[in-house]
């Protein structure tokens, strides 16, 4: 048993660090670390640099242009990027639709879509959730009817993250209403410029425009855009959902966040001494640090098991719950540290910019925004149901 990285792993880590130092713009990193939003251009620039280096498709096999990295290498890469304040790699194309295309797609689909994803030519969005369905994904209603060599798609998708920037969307549709719900679903690729596709912004409680509703009104989609067989889309959907996600615990993000908060707390003088020296606040930091280290080590144990050939299954549900709980608690500490400076909201229009310290404006919005962590991506309740069933056998 050796919990330290070996020489080769340390060398790899140094290589990643060097790459980040050379390629991640300081302004991007600064904004990410300070919980400030980054522009689509910043995201695209970072993904472009990774693409050029051949490091964008972390989870793809080498033959399709992936890195072929081991679980430990993927872990090192993801944590280093997160701790350095790199924008997250958008998963919708790279880690969601691409694996499905690689596994179930036609040769033509592979040849066309995979290089475009690798070269950041398409911005993909996800069309899974529907207003009525929520965690009951298979209960979806958006339907596609065959009309010659096209499907006619009608219905609605929701919680489409960053869909306002996307030109492509993968959609689960119902192609058969006669059979039980899982058996009548198909997986379609839709060009968002097709007539009949409408994107409506959903503003979240923190004032952000991050998610969208997408409406399909008699949208004609070529049959060639079907992935896998008609009515067999549930297989694709499940494959996508269980696709290995080593980064699900978000430990790197939490570490960067906590380091940032410690700096802030050390810099704020309250009642004549730095906030970090106020006992109750210090205790919250200490509590979060040890909680986070527990998650980090649990994550490493899973990564190591994967390296040894284990297939992380429901264990990732543990990591999802633990990781999101810590991230939410850190955001709560952020709000607490900001104190009365967390109040101004119209900063979004840059109005009372001089009212509060530079660190403060994202505090409350971040806290509220991160409520999503325990809701989206399979709510933490659903994760507990999965663990109860798959691991505990209840």
């Amino acid at each position: 048993m050796d919990i330290e990285y070996n020489k080769a792993e340390r060398a790899f880590r140094d290589e990643v660090r060097a790459f980040i130092a050379d390629n991640l713009p300081e302004e991007t990193s600064r904004r990410v670390k300070a919980f400030k939003s980054v522009t689509p251009d910043m995201m695209t620039a970072w993904q472009g640099a990774l693409s050029k280096k051949g490091w964008l498709a972390v989870n793809w096999p080498v033959e399709h242009g992936g890195t072929g990295w081991s679980p430990i290498e993927k872990h090192i890469f993801e944590e280093e990027c997160a701790e350095a304040g790199a924008p997250r790699i958008l998963p919708f194309g790279l880690n969601m639709v691409a694996p499905v295309i690689i596994k179930f797609g036609t040769q033509a689909q592979k040849d066309y879509y995979l290089p475009r994803i690798l070269n950041n030519e398409d911005w993909w969005a996800q069309g899974y959730s529907e207003p009525g369905a929520g965690s009951d994904l298979a209960g979806l209603k958006c339907r596609a009817e065959r009309d010659g060599d096209h499907y006619i798609v009608n219905g609605q998708k929701t919680w489409t993250t960053l869909g306002q920037h996307a030109n492509m969307i993968f959609v689960l549709v119902r192609t058969n209403t006669e059979v039980k719900k899982q058996a009548g679903i198909s997986f379609l690729l839709v060009d968002m410029d097709t007539p009949g596709v409408t994107v409506r912004p959903l503003i979240t409680l923190d004032g952000e425009h991050e998610v969208n509703e997408v409406f399909f009104d008699d949208v004609r989609v070529p049959v060639d855009n079907l992935v896998g067989e008609e009515d067999k889309g549930w297989t694709c959907a499940k494959y996508l959902l269980t696709f290995e996600r080593t980064g699900i615990a978000g430990v790197g993000i939490s570490k960067a966040a906590l380091a940032h908060l410690k700096e802030i707390a050390a810099g704020q003088i309250v009642d004549g001494k730095p906030l970090i020296e106020h006992p109750r606040l210090a205790e919250r930091i200490v509590d979060l640090e040890l909680e986070l280290m527990a998650v980090e080590m649990t994550n490493l144990r899973t990564v190591s098991a994967a390296e040894a050939g284990g297939v992380p299954g429901a264990e990732s549900s543990f990591l999802k719950i633990m990781g999101t709980e810590v991230r939410q608690k850190i955001s709560d500490l952020y709000r607490e540290i900001a104190g009365p400076q967390a109040l101004p909201f119209s900063y979004l229009e840059d109005e009372p910019a001089d009212c509060v310290a530079d660190f403060a404006p994202p505090a409350a919005p971040t806290y509220f925004n991160l409520r999503k962590l325990s809701i989206f991506g399979g709510s933490n309740e659903i994760q507990k149901n999965i663990i109860a069933k798959a691991i505990l056998g209840l």
Binding site: D136, G139, T158, L205, D271, G339, L343, P344, P352, Y367
Partner: protein, 390 residues
């Protein structure tokens, strides 16, 4: 002992409920927040007309002479309706400060236009360096031949953006963080040297940052006695805490109700999600947290007129409970609503925001827990002394 409402209290509750029902639909509220005033002057006029603005003021001030219970009844109603009218900043803080600070024969003159809904005052107390401590006052007031010159900076002045007059707390003696040596001054908001940056808070309120750069005011700008503003300040802030706690209780009640309705309506896997036992038990926990906040708020409200030590303890306990139990209820409301709870278009999201952010007004749970710890230490010192004496 009788916890039922008196006729007057029931009438007050009904009044607030009615105004809210008539004028605070979700869309209307959004409109008020987006407006230049940040609230509805028309609704404010209604408040005045119905006598709601008179509730916390003494009879000599022309008020309703309401106690803590009456203030609680009104503020709970405001919380239920998620009302963004400047009741806390303008009436409870500024108004009650004046009610306590002014001589009996001057009160009516000053407070009448406030009660009528015409005057717009704000109490400028807290400062960036003091965080939540109302006694950390670096703002100075120096006397000269023409009166006083004020310099300093005030943070999160509630209703400060719309105020015509600011009541500025400045230090004329004593050291930070002491209540001794604090004085209060009338400052016309248009006076040279006064700069304000108004803003909307994340929970839909209005406040302002205020800079005072060698602001000259007359000798008559001093309110009450020099160096003696501490008492009136405590009087006003105590009422502010009761109003905030009651507002939280009202908002928590609605957040619970909305969540419960959602659990009954929303179906998943063919059944209402409220049929899942894990969610049922969490809903029960939410209600239990609501009851705790209600109980300590009630106790705080009813202790406003009593013994000072008890009052401070009750107020601090209530505000701590609001900070902790309130946050839990807000977070659970969002979580049980799922994605819909995250949406700006869902009213529950706004209830959650108000409930959580109330912790950031007039001192958070940490701030008041420090006060409770100081009281406990004092208690143990007295006990030790009593032991030695015996």
């Amino acid at each position: 002992m009788d916890f039922s409402y008196s006729d007057e209290q029931r009438m007050l509750a009904d009044l607030v409920t009615r105004v809210v029902a008539d004028h605070y639909a979700f869309d209307a509220r959004e409109g008020y927040i987006a407006s230049a005033e940040g609230h509805s002057p028309a609704v404010w006029g209604q408040f005045a007309e119905l006598g709601l603005l008179a509730v916390p003021f003494s009879e000599s001030a022309g008020g309703f002479d309401g106690g803590g219970a009456e203030l609680m009844v009104v503020a709970e109603g405001l919380g239920r309706g998620l009302v963004v009218e400047p009741y806390l900043g303008r009436i409870v803080l500024a108004g009650c400060f004046l009610d306590a600070a002014l001589a009996d024969d001057k009160k009516a003159e000053v407070l009448e236009p406030l009660i009528a809904g015409e005057a717009r005052f704000a109490l400028a107390v807290h400062e960036p360096a003091g965080r939540y401590d109302p006694h950390w006052i670096e703002t100075t007031a120096t006397q000269d031949a023409n009166g006083w010159r004020l310099s300093g900076r005030k943070a999160a002045v509630l209703a400060g953006d719309s105020a015509d007059h600011l009541i500025v707390i400045a230090r004329t003696g004593g050291d930070n963080p002491s209540a001794e040596g604090l004085s209060a001054f009338w400052v016309d908001a248009d006076t040279a040297g006064v700069r304000r940056a108004g803003y909307t808070t994340i929970d839909g309120q209005r406040a302002a940052e205020v800079w005072l750069d060698d602001v000259a005011v007359g000798a008559d700008a001093l309110i009450g006695t020099e160096g003696q503003a501490g008492g009136a300040l405590e009087y006003a802030l105590d009422r502010g805490v009761v109003a905030l706690c009651a507002e939280a209780a009202g908002a928590m009640e609605v957040a619970c109700d909305l969540t419960l309705d959602y659990l009954k309506e929303r179906k998943q896997f063919g059944v209402p999600i409220g049929s899942f036992q894990a969610l049922q038990h969490r809903m029960v926990d939410m209600r239990m947290n609501l009851e705790k906040v209600r109980s300590l708020t009630l106790w705080a409200a009813c202790s406003l007129e009593g013994d000072a030590t008890e009052r401070r303890q009750r107020l601090a306990q209530a505000k701590v409970m609001v900070g902790t139990a309130g946050r839990k209820v807000a977070e659970e409301a969002i979580q049980l609503f799922g994605g819909m709870g995250m949406m700006d278009e869902s009213s529950v999201a706004h209830y959650a925001k108000r409930i959580v952010m109330i912790d950031h007004y007039l001192g958070d749970a940490n701030f008041y827990k420090d006060q409770l710890l100081a009281m406990l230490a004092g208690e143990s010192v007295s006990a030790a002394e009593a032991n030695r004496a015996a």
